[in-house]
Symmetry: C2
Subunit: 542 residues, 2 copies
Amino acid sequence: MKGRMMQVPLLTSDILKSAVQRYPRQEIVSRTNEDKIHRYTYSDAYRRSCQLANVLARLGVQRGDRVATLAWNNYRHLELYYGISGYGAVVHTLNARLFAEQLQYIINHAEDQYIFVDAPFVPMLEEVRDHIPTVKGFIINGDPEQMPETSLAPLYCYETLLAAEPDDFAWPRLEATDASGLCYTSGTTGNPKGVLYDHHSSVLHAMMSGSSQYLDFSERSCVMPVVPMYHVCAWGVPFSAPLYGAKLVLPGPNMDGASLQALIEEESVDKAYAVPTVWLGLHNYLESTGKKIDSLKLVGVGGAASPRALVKLYAERYNVYWMGIWGMTETSPLATAAIPTPDMDALDAEARYDLQATAGRAMFGVEVEIFDANDEPAPHDGESRGNLRVRGPWVLQSYYKGEGEHSFADGWFDTGDVAVINAEGYLKIVDRSKDVIKSGGEWISSVDLESAALNYEAVNEACVIGARHLKWDERPIMLVTLKEGKAYDETELRRVLVERVAKWWMPDAIIVVDELPHTGTGKLRKVELRQEYADYLLESSD
Amino acid sequence: MKGRMMQVPLLTSDILKSAVQRYPRQEIVSRTNEDKIHRYTYSDAYRRSCQLANVLARLGVQRGDRVATLAWNNYRHLELYYGISGYGAVVHTLNARLFAEQLQYIINHAEDQYIFVDAPFVPMLEEVRDHIPTVKGFIINGDPEQMPETSLAPLYCYETLLAAEPDDFAWPRLEATDASGLCYTSGTTGNPKGVLYDHHSSVLHAMMSGSSQYLDFSERSCVMPVVPMYHVCAWGVPFSAPLYGAKLVLPGPNMDGASLQALIEEESVDKAYAVPTVWLGLHNYLESTGKKIDSLKLVGVGGAASPRALVKLYAERYNVYWMGIWGMTETSPLATAAIPTPDMDALDAEARYDLQATAGRAMFGVEVEIFDANDEPAPHDGESRGNLRVRGPWVLQSYYKGEGEHSFADGWFDTGDVAVINAEGYLKIVDRSKDVIKSGGEWISSVDLESAALNYEAVNEACVIGARHLKWDERPIMLVTLKEGKAYDETELRRVLVERVAKWWMPDAIIVVDELPHTGTGKLRKVELRQEYADYLLESSD
């Protein structure tokens, strides 16, 4: 028996329509690429998104066309999120950290029709211009006086195009399953793969991730996504903040401590989101200047494991709650979070920091499960490791154009992460499946070892990989880069490590290197390192 | 172009599954029909809902079967919400205030297979037993020792059935559009009509209505739905509270001031929901006893217009925020709410009370619009009246079995209410379409007049209807019942009225009556009164 309720799809355009009705005067504050503060309201954003949709019609963009952006976190990028997806096209966020060859591959794979680009990224596109034949034109996100000298053609000016259009638009009643966004993952191996979001997944994700189960937004919030809008959609904050009426602070290109501190204080930001290194940078700046971040109450931290030392530091020095989160491009991206709970209030501080440094619990709508080598669910005991799989309406069903079939198992997306889940449902990523080290049949977590090494202050970055070993099959070795001006002593580093991990996990070698190789999005290129150091222990034992 | 995200329907069973993972020890506290306090956790509720689903299988209940409940707000009724809908059947909440003939009509129309009944309602069913042939059995919601003497047969005991079943159950992966619940509206005319909810509508409604846009639930909330679970699903709180982890206090049969005050204080309730008369009753009790409700921070009030005097009283005497809301059985039911906002904080108290007494603003997912006589949207100026229509994924598409087609216009559900909307989107119901009085071509609001009359303390209830008039076509007349022991003087009442409404709205006659006729759910039967008093002014002017 079927219910008799309206089948009315909720669309991204409905989010901004609702925001302008409920929160017309709420502010959106951007730091522009010219390092100025731009300030306007949801009403303004709505009117300009309408103008943008009219621009797309004038350019001849068709339903379902991919229209790309290459831009920092700012108000025009926000308009592009709504204008393109609301129009019925697909907003494809190009990652500004990609190498030219990846960028070219992605644009061609997506068959982008137009690219809306912030002026600083024009050189990136010039480099690939001759090899991206689907692109019909480039729109510079700026005023006429900001137009750069460039060989890109045809070339348009965003503000000139908008100024010619009316500021209302009849947003089409699309279907819930119509594609709305496209974002590529840059794996450590192989070509990038596209995740094609639809209106249903984007809106549900915004509804739940903005709720008290996760980001906890309301009209009283002032939130700053430092995590880029060109990468995992800035955690969906461009959709969840307007849905719940939060004031939105978009930090533009500068993610350094000084820029963030200034925005936090001037705009009274109370919640902000970024990877751990950003918060380390902010702390260093605050320590060297004595400046304040009194308005800040919570940082959401993902993209890498939370260093527990930073969790504690932010609590005790800044009275800021460090909320560990986990998600992926493939999960829209938010899935789990270590939100502050009444149970946590009852814990002593150290036990609370332990929980905050996890990835937290699954929000409603997302199922997470760990599977052992026999594909059976592993116990939720905080000890048993398993392959992490995830399922839900904002998790991908298949990659764009059907790639990556091996990533799916029995209706679950296989994340490639190895994780533990405790009895309370708290998830902790302990490794990548490919990065886990199997020593004498037991798993050693490279992530835990890397995280432990950061407690030694001379270590700038640590990378742990498995190297072949005659007796144990594999043993961990650790590569470290050092901070300038800090004394390094391996014995001291080993003392720090052994306090934090099991003795049999201790690396067989610790090697200081000048630099470690990274992907375009800042991930360690472990595949290369594994090849280079595969026989290190065999050779060194000669 | 279609997105490539998982098409995973969210089901009511997912709500309880998620709750037991996130909030296993959160409490559900019930006042039983025996006036005892029962206390257990979401984990307990989950296990018993599993047992209940196994009971349904044993009874031979099929997917889509309607299984009815006739019960107060208590933990077993909660289990029935989840056990029946999660199993794949349709939980049909019978209204305990119905007259026998309506009850019989509804059970037959729904073709209910089983009825789960609280012992106090057994006599209601005995009265209709011989006329409800689809019903295969009756389950008494209680222990073996609580089984009543009754002619109902076949008869089962809830706890005996549950005790025989395992406490796990493989909840089926139903479709989002599968029916999950059925609730009849008792209109003032004609037969009741059924609203058939589905999993999609129920879950989306819970996600949004539990968010900061509306009920604002979290693990830190302790919420008490006084509004009955047998009527408009207790505003969906049985779904939204577990979804967001709120402690749930279910008050059972007693909605008097003493019972509610005791629960509020003993359980530290901070949010509670009921019609205005309940809050008047609580106030009267507090005033006469001097008792406290210090934990209470907010009351949500719907089902009738909010008397502004009570809004003010609750703010100034009890420091409780009175949140006016609006919704209908047809809208799941929540649609609009006057939540506390930063803009309100900036208002002076009297202006804030005005807003709180409205129905508030539409939450995301619901569109509300007012239409003039030409079916064009009326201005949102706080003055222009129009027929209120509503649209969204938790609004009905058509009544059960296709009845009531005239209630739909161009994709909108026509509520039968007349409303105004102001520039900020605040909705105010000013009348029922059928109850509005058209005097000399202008509309007079019976609701405003009735509300104004309640400011005169001798008036117990007021009913305003249009009576035929030679010159003006219709003029308002007011029928009032009086409070015992209070002096009544019509001149004084008129003085109170004229301070609050336009002079030309003043009733042509005010008539004191002994009682006013009501429907089973407490609504005034205006149709009857209009017939009785249609020619009153013509006759009295003879």
